[in-house]
């Protein structure tokens, strides 16, 4: 079964992203599952980063750590990442020679064949493709596509560079490189979490995004801005996150679906706005792309440290939705769902992702667009005689109109208010309004999807996890089961409100989370009363992978 892990390393600015993306794309083009993730420093040039590409026959979409194939573009990165290379792995190198080393003089080739060092990256991509045993045609396709916007000369030069690298490596590979990846007929999507969220927002009828740049969330507004003409979406870079969330709320009040996105620090600044959305019952979707914190933390790394913060965000009590998708397809559908439910219940919805999900490229077969529900939850002004924005009724969901839609006036207030939206000091009414708002939670709870179960029927030990770690956790379960352990997993992607759910009894629970304090465990204990035996915790900024989880399970 093919399952190759390629590690490309180098300094920022050297182009490892280009190399990595091209070979991931090439593998995908050849019909294989590619999954790639990045580990990089918060700087524009220099440092030491890596881009890791896992290529497999079966869907994997979770990180591997040890490298089958390794390349470093500078000495520092070579020293740092070479320990990842398996004993029987292949080093692709500019100068070094030896057993299991494919020596490719990238710079020489780039300079002699193309007269420009700039092409080193494409030469390297060619060489790596050859080492992986992928046919030249797939790489050619990708080069043609990726550089097509840049003019014929650039395309043909890159083709030459790739071909040279490919040829050179292919020759040295003979008898050394074990892999052959014949072209398969599968066609896949290779897409990141941020891109899927942006497209999901589009599918969910979002027409407005305001955001302030913050890694790793910036990709969402960048993508939507790039395609704003095709998607007819208004995008605005706000002066700060407070403006961003208020703009989104304003746009939503004005009648369109609207969103914003940030990471922990920027989200923190939006918290008052979340409470505003709660009080005014204005739908809004907020993406919180987590990174290691507190404060600035490690801006380019990954973590799941903001779960309880997000769940409890905002002063006062009001219903709210918190989702944490597990992969780009899930992200796509979850954000559509978030837009629908936010509108239906007139509440703020938070999508928790993290750098790992936001930046990594996943291979997906199909987006199941038919599952997207296209419907508006606004009221019909013609059916209303005396319009009350905050009408007290059984469901707690009052009719929502937007200003200018009809002759009805739409009045919203951040103070406690009467049914018309006017400030009130009537304390009995206050009570009824609190109840009305909170009633929505109970209806909403019924719509929440229960956690995903894996192999729990006979399990004695059960992992509890959430968000982007799903694939790693499930892979760990599979591997552990191969070794005879009776493990299972319960994976949450919808975290507030939590659904009614029967937990298996008499099993040992382990939380598996990218944080240090086992936040999911505390949440589940408070909600379901279950107790966790131990936390398998990761908080060094790297994503959870199945080896780490297995190690944490076996050795504690």
């Amino acid at each position: 079964m093919i399952d190759i892990n390629v590690v490309v390393s180098g300094a920022a600015g050297q182009g490892i992203q280009t190399i990595g993306y091209i070979i991931a794309k090439t593998a995908s083009e050849a019909g294989y599952n590619a999954f790639s993730w990045q580990d990089y420093e918060s700087r524009i040039r220099g440092g030491s980063n890596s881009y890791r590409i896992r290529v497999s026959e079966d869907p994997a979409n979770s990180p591997l750590v040890k490298a089958d194939i390794f390349i470093a573009l500078d000495e520092k990165s070579k020293a740092k990442y070479r320990p990842l290379l398996k004993e029987d792995g292949i080093l692709v190198d500019e100068q070094e020679t030896g057993e299991r080393i494919i020596t490719v003089p990238f710079v020489d080739i780039a300079q002699s064949e193309l007269g420009d060092k700039l092409f080193v990256n494409t030469v390297a991509a060619g060489a790596l493709t050859a080492v992986m045993g992928i046919a030249w045609e797939s790489l050619k396709e990708v080069i043609l596509e990726e550089f097509s916007g840049k003019g014929d000369v650039i395309v043909s030069k890159n083709l030459t560079a790739a071909a040279e690298g490919y040829k050179f490596a292919r020759n040295s590979c003979e008898g050394i490189c074990p892999w052959v990846l014949p072209r398969r007929e599968q066609k896949h999507y290779l897409i990141s979490g941020n891109e899927a969220l942006a497209l999901g927002a589009a599918a969910g009828r979002c027409r407005f995004i305001a955001a302030y740049p913050m890694t790793p969330s910036t990709g969402i507004i960048t993508f939507l801005s790039k395609y704003k003409e095709r998607l007819k979406i208004f995008t605005e870079q706000a002066e700060d996150e407070i403006a961003a969330v208020n703009m989104a709320i304003g746009a939503s009040y004005a009648g369109v679906r609207a969103m914003t996105a940030s990471s922990g620090g920027g989200f923190a600044l939006m918290v008052e706005g979340i409470s505003l959305a709660g009080m005014t019952e204005t739908p809004v979707v907020i993406v919180l792309a987590q990174r290691p914190a507190p404060a600035t933390g490690l801006p380019t790394r990954t973590e799941q440290g903001d779960l309880l913060f997000a769940i409890n965000a905002g002063h006062g009590e009001f219903p709210k939705l918190v989702f944490a998708p597990s992969d780009p397809k899930d992200a796509f559908h979850k954000i559509v769902r978030a837009f629908n439910l936010a509108e239906k219940y007139q509440i703020p919805a938070i999508i928790l992702t993290d750098q790992h999900l936001a930046d990594s490229y996943f291979t997906l077969d199909d987006f199941e667009l038919d599952k997207v529900i296209n419907r508006s939850y606004l009221a019909n002004p013609d059916e209303i005689a005396n319009y009350k924005r905050y009408q007290l009724n059984e469901s707690g969901i009052s009719p929502m109109l937007y200003p200018g839609q009809s002759h009805h006036l739409v009045c919203c207030d951040s103070d406690e208010h009467d049914e018309y939206g006017h400030i009130t000091e009537d304390l009995e009414l206050r009570k009824r309004m609190v109840k009305k708002r909170l009633r929505k939670t109970e209806l909403l709870r019924k719509e929440i999807v229960p956690p995903e179960e894996k192999d729990i029927s006979d399990a004695t030990d059960v992992f509890l996890s959430w968000g982007s770690s799903r694939n790693a956790v499930f892979e760990a379960v599979d591997r552990l089961r191969e070794n005879g352990a009776r493990v299972g997993a319960i994976h949450f992607t919808e975290l507030l409100p939590l659904p009614e759910y029967e937990f298996p009894r008499d099993v040992n629970y382990y939380t598996v989370e990218s944080n240090a304090t086992g936040q999911l465990g505390r949440l589940l204990r408070s909600e379901y009363g279950i107790s966790v035996k131990r936390a398998i915790a990761r908080y060094d900024g790297l994503p959870l992978d199945h080896m780490y989880i297995m190690e944490g399970f076996v050795n504690g």
């Binding site: 290779l190 599918a203 304003g250 746009a251 004005a254 369109v256 919203c412 103070d415 400030i423």
Partner: protein, 287 residues
């Protein structure tokens, strides 16, 4: 035809009896009558403070949001629905203190909205602390020894950053104020009217202090002269000018214009769900 009664709100007014805010409210109503804007064509946006309660007292659409955050709300409403007459009513604390960053950057955007600041040089609702426009050395319920910060110069700041309509009014001159509002609301682009409002409860100056100093810009004042406008905007003390300080009648790009020119010219609410085909095509980028 719209009449002043059309704006009559049912909400109980919470201002102090005799508060000059009542004058501003009347001036806004009469301006809206003059412009024949129906309640449903108007959207008022405010933050929190005494001034910011105004939308409750004028029948129309409104969003009474958070302290300091009226402008981002209004800007978004204006982009989504450019047909609404969007008016921000705010206080000096709301707009220049908590909301200072939005003030600064909203000017740069030039949205087609009208900003009305009830400038009473004090935090009224929280009982009398200094606002960014309180005069140097004025004593307040928190600045017991007097204010130590230079007052903000919001009108000059607006002029500096390209605000095409900058005016100051006086709450005691309802007719004049109403005229200013008419002009401001008619104006295409960001129109900004700072209104002197002598708070009779916490104010650091008496009504007569203001009355003695306020004068109208003379008829021959050239409201297209930005340098002169800057000077007028900085004049404060013995004499305080009111009127339109500056009006730029040249066409100017406004917030959302690029979008409306190139992508969609209308209310964004009129756009329905996207076709599945569009999403499929976009997804194909990743295949």
């Amino acid at each position: 035809m719209v009449e002043i009664e059309d704006y009559q709100s049912d909400a109980e007014n919470q201002w102090c009896p005799g508060c000059p805010n009542f004058g501003i409210l009347r001036a806004i109503k009469s301006a809206l009558v003059a412009l024949a804007r129906k309640p449903e064509e108007i959207c008022m946006v405010s933050g929190i403070g005494q001034a910011a309660k105004l939308p409750h007292y004028l029948r129309c659409n409104f969003f009474n949001g958070l302290h300091g955050r009226a402008l981002p709300i209004a800007v978004a409403i204006n982009v989504v629905n450019p047909k609404l007459t969007t008016i921000v009513v705010t206080g000096d604390g709301d707009c220049y203190g908590e909301g200072g960053n939005h003030f600064l950057h909203t000017i740069r955007r030039n949205p087609n909205i009208t900003l009305i600041v009830h400038n009473n040089q004090i935090y009224g609702l929280t009982k009398g602390q200094a606002s960014p426009t309180t005069d140097l050395r004025a004593k307040t319920r928190l600045q017991f020894e007097g204010v130590e910060l230079e007052p903000l110069r919001p009108l000059a700041t607006a002029l500096l950053h390209g605000c095409p309509f900058v005016a100051r009014g006086y709450a005691g001159d309802i007719k004049g104020l109403s005229d200013l509002f008419v002009e401001a609301m008619r104006f295409k682009g960001f129109s900004y009217v700072d209104v002197i409002q002598p708070c009779i409860t916490w104010g650091t100056h008496t009504v007569s202090w203001y009355k003695e100093r306020i004068y109208k810009l003379p008829p021959d004042y050239d409201l297209h002269d930005k340098e002169e406008a800057l000077k007028k905007a900085c004049e404060w003390g013995d004499r305080i000018p009111i009127g339109v300080f500056y009006r730029d009648d040249r066409p100017k790009m406004g917030f959302g214009d690029q979008f409306r020119d190139k992508i969609f010219d209308g209310r964004l609410t009129d756009l329905g769900f996207r076709k599945q085909q569009t999403i499929i095509e976009m997804l194909d980028i990743f295949r």
